[in-house]
């Protein structure tokens, strides 16, 4: 039997789920992951909003998917070249191995915004400024959340939109997941340190998901988390290592300052280096924000400008986990229909 082959690049949620779906449809699928473990950013996440279920449960589901469907897995892959020649895609790796396929799915995800670039918030300068990803690492490790002096924080500040919705750092888009992550993490802080006070500094609270608003209300009702509308202009360090934050409380219509023992920055998503590298090798189109661009925002999602090359997940735009699942399955579907010679492009009447 001569099965058609598909190469999937990126072993996070999007890559694993599209690979599992394609393999279960009978295609010969090879999944490339640059690190030694499948799971991507999800491996760094303890509990997931809005249900607080464990991230590792979802990793297990994905693992089972790729194993049951017998996806070929190439870990520690260092892709040095990816191109399309005639109807075939070719991917070369650093160890000299070459792979060919009839279709390709790019699922190279996002990188976390480098908080050092938002210098006025003091990340990398002041000890007690951490990122949401680092807070999650602390939760995952089971260690307590302490200041660098080893004290239990009495006040924790959470800053929304760090590296998102900010022309100063060149990212004008919303990263979508960080508002509800702030709510989730503030609840977790309060569960671990009930005597602490948590303050979220936000511009808008974007609680778009079905149960996000409920989680937000729970944070207020059960945990007395405080929400202050206003974007931090700066943070500076007090003599005792705590941080003085400055913000306009835009609901009170007054500038406000307060000290917090730990400041957590809700870092956004940026297009990953892998997406830039491999997307460029393949000649894929990028949108204005640097994420991959589909052929049409509404009707041609996951479909790139290169026939036979598709993309899934956060290499296309910031997404929540359930959106990535839906997107990965949709990319798998589009890939399969391409391989079965369904020409979706002929439906486009407006170009």
């Amino acid at each position: 039997m001569n099965r058609k082959r598909v190469i999937v690049i990126g072993g996070g949620i999007a890559g694993m789920e599209s690979a599992a779906n394609l393999a279960s449809m009978g295609y010969d699928v090879t999944l490339f992951e640059k690190s030694q473990e499948l799971g991507g950013h999800l491996l760094g996440w303890e509990k997931l909003f809005p249900t607080m279920r464990m991230g590792k449960d979802v990793v297990k589901f994905l693992d089972k998917g790729v194993h049951l469907a017998k996806v070929n897995i190439v870990k520690n892959s260092n892709i040095t070249n990816a191109s399309k020649n005639g109807n075939l895609f070719t991917v070369s790796c650093g160890d000299g191995a070459k792979y060919e396929s009839e279709a390709l799915v790019l699922a190279t995800g996002y990188d976390i915004f480098d908080a050092k670039r938002k210098e006025e918030y003091g990340y990398g300068i002041y000890d007690n400024v951490i990122t949401s990803a680092e807070l999650e690492e602390i939760f995952l490790s089971g260690k307590p959340l302490l200041t660098t002096k080893g004290e239990i924080p009495k006040r924790v500040g959470i800053v929304h939109c760090v590296g998102s919705r900010d022309e100063k750092v060149g990212n004008v888009y919303c990263s979508k997941v960080c508002c509800v992550t702030a709510v989730k993490q503030s609840i977790e802080i309060k569960e671990k340190i009930p005597d602490s006070n948590v303050f979220c500094f936000y511009m808008d609270l974007r609680m778009f998901g079905m149960h996000f608003e409920t989680l937000y209300k729970q944070a207020q009702e059960k945990h007395a988390v405080n929400f202050i509308r206003g974007r931090l202009s700066e943070a500076c360090e007090n003599m005792d290592g705590s941080l003085l934050v400055k913000v306009e409380d835009t609901l009170a219509g007054k500038p406000l300052r307060m000290s917090v023992d730990i400041l957590v920055l809700m870092v956004g998503m940026v297009p990953s280096e892998g997406t830039k590298k491999i997307g460029t090798m393949l000649g894929m189109n990028f949108g204005a924000n640097g994420f991959l661009k589909s052929q049409d925002q509404h009707t041609m999602t996951s479909i790139s400008n290169i026939p036979g090359a598709f993309f899934a997940g956060c290499c296309g735009s910031p997404r929540t986990i359930n959106n990535v699942f839906a997107d990965a399955r949709s990319a798998a579907m589009m890939t399969a229909s391409y391989l079965e010679a369904y020409d979706i492009e002929e439906r486009i009447t407006y170009i």
Binding site: K217, Q220, N226
Partner: protein
């Protein structure tokens, strides 16, 4: 002292580390729905007193949470306790009882 025509401007900044959170702490315990206000302003939009005076319940709640309590007594005296705000609040804040409790806190701490 010679008057040069200058005066010191009063600091408008809220200094959260020093502000007076007594009313907030009291109301939070006595009427917990105080915590779930989302500052939408529906109460203020419907307020009978707010159409004629400076009474602004949304803002008052926000300011009390920041410990900015000067002027609360004067503002609250304009409220007629009609309860329209409670009917309108989309979040289920028991605004009328919040107002009662703020009044009690004002008495308790002689503010």
């Amino acid at each position: 002292m010679k008057n040069f025509g200058f005066s010191l401007s009063k600091d408008r900044q809220i200094d959260f580390d020093k502000s007076d959170k007594r009313i907030m702490d009291f109301v939070k315990i006595e009427e917990p729905t105080f915590n779930i206000c989302i500052a939408c302003g529906t109460c203020t939009a419907t307020c009978s007193a707010g159409n004629f005076t400076e009474m602004n319940l949304r803002k008052m709640i926000t300011l009390i949470k920041r410990g900015e309590i000067t002027g609360v007594r004067a503002e609250l005296s304009k409220c007629m306790l009609c309860g329209k705000c409670s009917l309108a609040c989309p979040r289920g804040v028991n605004t009328r009882n919040v107002i009662f409790k703020i009044n009690q806190a004002l008495e308790k701490y002689s503010l």
